[in-house]
């Protein structure tokens, strides 16, 4: 009795765990903001099973360093630079969940779900990186212009209710575009004169001149306000605004930095020759050393001489990388950037940025796949249709042949599908079309364990054993066959996973999880069902098997 209860508890816990994994969760994705056309972070609730590109449509690109026009000294380093550059440009793709990853040390994989135009995607990826150093707005000219901008926005009918960041937009962080629009409609026109303006409510002065912090969830609002013509007109001459790459958290909120920088770079990546990260032995600081060309050194010496004690923003592809360092003294051909107590990893990353701007990595596309969204939809529909028909056939065979025991096996099969999907979600694997086939195939194989057990029980019954004994022996005798056959199949699938790529790996993973789930359901869960059944009917003479 106690045994049954503990088995039921374990089964219940497994069901809970699988259901828990499948509960729609908040996932952060980048989406295009309707009002500004720019990318922002957004959260959506959805079942956490990732669909492969073959199911949702999109572009898959594999890139390698192009050595056809001359050897590249360090291809692995070149691919790391390329990855950094592609990551900086990730918003330009305009897709919700881009994947950028290095595989095998020398290949860059870029996956763009939902993107349709391969030429455009390739253009963005293969464009040469542009690095520049610019002095930040040391005289706070942008800051001085903010009140005028607020006034202009007020004139245009844009306002933010309440002081500071709007309460509405804080409550509905992910939905600020709409909230601001609503605020625009409802707020009365005359009462807002004494309140801070729409723009100044969003920008907080940062630690250095020309640095402003914007709450992460309000970045799209700030972007759309700054893009308005009445604001653009008021941005002081010679000043440009650039967003930072990093999101900084202060307490519970996270902020993105916006920098007002001079519109002319003091030097560009063309003049940069080397950049390396190291840890300074004396001060224990992380440091990036860089070397400029001779010509660049002369220009840099003159410019830095004029800008001692100013801050210098390092901008790659229009994005400010890290916090701008201060210029301590005139710098010639060799300089160093001190990162204070930042980690060596940060320093390495900055050095990579500098090198990416200096030595563009010529990328060749070695593999390209574009799946139209309609094809992906058709694949899902066809896959589900085949799955439903296959499962119905399997259920019919089992119930007709094994009667009540077959019903138990089919019930366990339901749990099996739940466990497999839960496992896929829990480990964060991607479901592909071959994976869908693997799932369906493992439904057929999953029942093998039950078939083995039931046949064994029938044999034992035929040998004149009592129902209870026959069930026990059926389970124990079938076990060695079940284990050996499943383990060897799982080993083959595992090798498929190790050696295969993309879709084949997806298939192998689904098969492995399916095998594990089928062992658990066929052996453990069905056994529990039998125990309950036998307990309810202790005097049972014939078994419906």
């Amino acid at each position: 009795m106690r045994k049954i209860r503990s088995r039921l508890i374990i089964t219940g816990l497994m069901v809970l765990l699988a259901v828990w994994e499948l509960i729609p969760t908040n996932t952060t994705i980048r989406v295009r903001d309707v009002t500004s056309g720019l990318m922002k972070d957004s959260t959506v609730r959805r079942v956490p099973i990732n669909l492969g590109l073959d199911l949702q449509g999109g572009i898959h690109l594999a890139l390698e360093v192009d050595q056809s026009k001359g050897p590249v000294p360090d291809p692995a380093e070149a691919i790391r630079r390329a990855e950094r550059v592609v990551r900086t440009r990730i918003d330009e793709f305009g897709v919700t969940e881009p994947v950028v990853q290095i595989v095998g040390g020398n290949r860059l994989i870029v996956e763009l779900p939902g993107e349709k135009d391969p030429a455009r995607a390739k253009g963005i990826i293969q464009r040469t990186a542009f690095l520049e150093f610019r002095i930040t707005d040391m005289k706070s000219r942008f800051r001085d212009a903010i009140p005028d901008m607020d006034k202009a926005l007020r004139g245009a009918g844009v306002r933010v209710p309440g002081g500071g960041p709007s309460v509405v937009s804080q409550l509905f962080g992910s939905d600020t575009g709409k909230a601001a629009a609503k605020a625009k409609k409802t707020a009365p026109d005359t009462s807002a004169l004494s309140q801070p303006g729409a723009l100044s409510a969003l920008l907080y002065q940062g630690a250095l001149p020309g640095e402003y912090l914007v709450p992460e969830e309000q970045v799209p609002v700030a972007e759309s306000l700054l893009a308005r013509p009445e604001v653009q007109r008021l941005i002081p001459r010679g000043i440009e605004l650039k967003w930072g790459t990093e999101v900084e958290s202060r307490g519970a909120r996270s902020y993105r930095a916006l920098y007002a920088v001079e519109d002319k770079p003091i030097i560009t990546g063309e003049e940069l020759e080397k950049a390396n990260a190291r840890r300074d032995q004396l001060t224990n600081q992380s440091v990036v050393d860089f070397v400029l060309s001779r010509r660049g050194g002369r220009v840099f010496e003159r410019e830095t001489g004029r800008h001692v004690n100013d801050y210098m923003a390092i901008i790659l592809d229009g994005r400010v990388q890290g916090q701008p360092p201060i210029i301590k003294s005139e710098i010639g051909q060799r300089g160093q950037i001190e990162l204070g107590n930042k980690t060596l990893q940060d320093a390495n990353d900055l050095a990579l940025v500098l090198r990416a701007g200096a030595l563009p990595a010529p990328l060749a596309i070695v593999e390209e796949r574009t799946i139209g969204p309609s094809l992906g939809r058709d694949s899902i529909t066809d896959g589900i249709r085949a799955g439903v028909v296959g499962v119905i056939l399997v259920v019919l065979i089992m119930v007709i042949y094994y009667r009540l025991s077959g019903v138990l096996a089919v019930a366990a099969l339901g749990l099996y599908v739940l466990f497999t999907l839960g496992g896929l979600a829990g480990f964060g694997f991607t479901l592909t079309l071959p994976g869908l086939a693997g799932l369906l195939l493992s439904v057929g194989i999953a029942l093998d364990a039950n078939v083995l057990i039931f046949e064994r029980i029938r044999e034992e019954l035929q040998h004149g054993k009592l129902v209870r004994t026959a069930v026990d022996e059926g389970f124990t005798h079938a076990m060695s066959a079940i284990i050996d056959s499943n383990v060897s199949t799982a080993l083959t699938a595992f090798i498929l996973y190790l050696v295969g790529t993309g879709p084949v790996q997806g298939f192998a993973i689904t098969l492995i999880i399916g095998i594990a789930a089928s062992m658990v359901t066929a052996v453990f869960v069905v056994r529990t069902f039998f125990m309950i059944w036998l307990q309810r009917r202790p005097d049972m003479v014939t078994l419906s098997v």
Binding site: K3, I10, I365, V366, E367, E368, R369, T370, G372, S374, D378, G383, R385, A386, V389, G390, L393, V394, I397, Y401, L433, P434, A437, G438, L440, L441, G444, I445, L447, D448, V451, R458, Q462, T469, E473, F475, T476, H477, M479, S480, A481, I483, D484, S485, S488, T489, L491, T492, A493, I495, L496, L498, V499, G500, G502, V504, F524, R527, M531, Q535
Partner: protein
């Protein structure tokens, strides 16, 4: 109670020479074709460009061909894909067309799109899928596929040597090797395109066929312990017959799912599903007619060293009699521990 093949007592092994003949009749012509024509590798393996086009109206393949010819693209292969509104246009690398050399796969895709625009009119067709694979990636994949099959053999051999005995392992691996040969012949007969997914199907077939062999061998292992007077020939026949109902049922349920995939899951998965359906036949066949006779042959050649007689293998006798439940397999349930 519905029972199929219960208490069957067919003399399966007696027909083994006929079975060898049958399997040779499948493999030999298949391999002859294979050596003459090779396999129809997908561009994933050869490198090249694939463009899948869906047109508004049904078209003949020749219309597309003449359209491409008019634009100067001559070497492309054109096939319908499931329906006569869906076409797959392939241009493999290494074909004689000079425009395809030097990794110009993307240019090929653009050239085809331009040709279709000119010939069919823009908007009257839609490009639903394009793939372009460089030659290097293709070569890598070929190597990986062979590696995968090789490693799966080694691992299986090791696992079976540990769990059973090396004679069983060798017999099972030879049966699996036979299955790979018949499957290659099958792929060659139907001229299926060998894509990565089909290689995946072949490896799954390996797992499935092995699974089937192991179920029978498990019974052989048990019967060798139980009936010490009978010879291996009888034991093998007995074990195959005893597991026959299971074979019929399991193959039935698996076949139901693979046939559903063949008929309903669409063109992309069809080669995969066909290979898997064939796998059920060849896997069952080889478990009975390759694995079992090979085991007999190995046993005759290298008899087990057990003193009681040639048929009792060392591994089988070293396992203590009684239910062979591996520890921890069925959590907490000891035999006879009835609740």
């Amino acid at each position: 109670m519905l029972r199929l093949f219960a208490n069957a007592a067919y003399d399966f092994i007696k027909w083994r020479r006929w079975a060898y003949g049958l399997t040779a009749a499948i493999i030999v012509p298949g391999f002859a074709l294979f050596f003459v024509h090779g396999l129809n590798y997908s561009i994933e393996f050869t490198g090249g460009t694939l463009i899948q086009v869906a047109t508004r109206q049904p078209l003949a393949t020749s219309t597309i061909r003449s359209t491409l010819d008019a634009a100067g693209i001559h070497d492309a292969e054109i096939q319908t894909f499931g329906a006569d509104t869906v076409f797959v246009i392939r241009a493999r690398l290494g074909a004689s067309s000079p425009s395809l050399e030097g990794g110009g796969t993307q240019q090929t895709a653009q050239a085809v799109a331009q040709a279709l625009d000119a010939g069919l009119g823009a908007g009257r067709y839609e490009i639903v899928r394009t793939e372009a694979v460089g030659p290097k990636v293709g070569r890598e994949l070929q190597g990986k596929a062979f590696l995968a099959i090789f490693f799966s053999f080694i691992v299986t051999l090791l696992y079976l040597a540990i769990r059973f005995e090396w004679r069983f392992g060798l017999a099972a691996v030879l049966a699996t090797f036979h299955d790979i040969c018949t499957t290659i012949a099958f792929i060659r007969y139907l001229n299926l395109e060998v894509s990565l997914v089909v290689v995946g199907a072949v490896l799954t077939m390996v797992g499935y066929s092995l699974n089937d062999t192991i179920i029978i061998f498990d019974r052989v292992r048990e019967n060798l312990r139980k009936f010490r007077r009978q010879n291996l020939y009888e034991i093998l026949n007995l074990s195959i017959n005893e597991t026959l109902p299971r074979s019929v049922l399991t193959h039935g349920t698996t076949m139901a799912t693979t046939l559903a995939l063949v008929l309903l899951a669409g063109e992309v998965l069809r080669p995969f599903a066909l290979v898997m359906t064939f796998a059920i036949f060849t896997g069952t066949f080889s478990s009975i007619y390759i694995a079992a006779p090979v085991l007999m042959y190995i046993e005759k050649r290298w008899p087990g060293e057990d003193a009681r007689g040639a048929r009792a293998f060392r591994a089988a006798t070293s396992v203590p009699p009684g239910p062979a439940t591996p520890p921890g397999a069925d959590a907490g349930v000891r035999p006879k521990a009835v609740v």
